[in-house]
């Protein structure tokens, strides 16, 4: 199994396949700037929570050069790992149901589920394969690689968008996502060692 592309997004920096990309703004402004540069035509992006924006724009950077974008496919999985899950959404939603100003926001509520980010990526890209969001107390490259490899045992999955996508709040987040594929001739080996090298670069 090979890593075809790898992307790292922090609140103030973006690295794609080891190359630093020029960015403007910080935090959610940086994510919006990436949207304007790389997506443009998906206004639903602005309705998403920060975690989904992070996952969707990171995926866009991974796959934007692929042929046959948006052709529905079952052979690509979306497997994301995080520590915080949707906790920042839980806090934002709680503010709408606290005190006398009790107006629960449906738009905030829908993002309080941990797996919405994987669904948003699948919907945007028409991926109809496995989508799973895992919770880890800390990033563990060995566990991550083993779990992704297991997902390929279903005889359907041949590639996956996978990685770490963690959002503490609008100013503190990290995405380290990979496009991995089975049987690819080129690319770096999908191993815990390589994943750690890319994440810590």
């Amino acid at each position: 199994m090979k890593i075809l592309h790898a992307v790292c997004i922090l609140p103030d920096a973006v690295r794609l396949d080891g190359v630093q990309l020029p960015v403007s703004g910080q935090g959610t402004e940086l994510l919006a700037a990436l949207y304007r540069e790389h997506m443009k035509d998906y206004p639903k992006f602005f309705k998403m929570d920060v975690l989904s924006k992070l996952g969707v724009i990171a995926t866009e950077l991974l796959v934007e050069g692929e042929a046959d974008r948006f052709t529905p496919r079952e052979d690509r999985a979306v497997l994301l790992f995080s520590k915080s899950g949707p906790l920042s959404d839980d806090r934002n939603y709680a503010k709408t149901i606290t005190g006398d100003d009790y107006f629960p926001s449906p738009a905030l509520f829908v993002y309080t589920l941990a797996n919405i980010v994987t669904g948003e990526i699948a919907i945007r890209n028409k991926y109809e394969g496995d989508t799973t969001a895992y919770g880890l107390t800390e990033f563990d490259a060995g566990q991550f690689v083993a779990t992704v490899r297991d997902a390929f045992e279903d005889r359907i999955t041949t590639s996956a968008v996978c990685g770490w996508a963690d959002c503490v709040d609008a100013d503190h987040f990290e995405a380290v996502l990979f496009l991995v594929a089975q049987g690819a001739a080129t690319g770096r080996d999908f191993s815990a060692e390589t994943v750690n090298q890319i994440k810590q670069a």
């Binding site: 992006f45 449906p106 738009a107 829908v110």
Partner: protein, 85 residues
């Protein structure tokens, strides 16, 4: 009524995060759903919250919301006739 329509347009843009959209770009009579602004079922719920929070109007079901939210003009007319604040 014109003032209320403009006010509603601004509140809709803010509540539904319609990035890059200005009040002038929303036709008073264009459908809010489907071919119009392309809003979805979650947006209907958010609009129900919007008119309760701002005008004290309580809609009891999303189906009722679909009637009220046909267009900004229909919405403004309903708000003007039923507002409690």
């Amino acid at each position: 009524m014109k003032e209320l329509i403009e006010e509603l347009k601004l509140k809709i843009i803010e509540a539904l995060n319609l990035e890059g959209m200005t009040p002038e770009q929303i036709d008073d009579n264009a459908p809010l759903f489907g071919d119009g602004l392309g809003l979805d079922s979650i947006d209907v719920l958010e609009l129900i919250v919007l008119i309760e929070k701002n005008y004290g109007i309580r809609l009891t079901s999303p189906a009722e919301g679909r009637q009220v939210f046909q267009s900004v003009a229909v919405m403004a007319d309903y708000v003007a006739k039923n507002r409690k604040k």
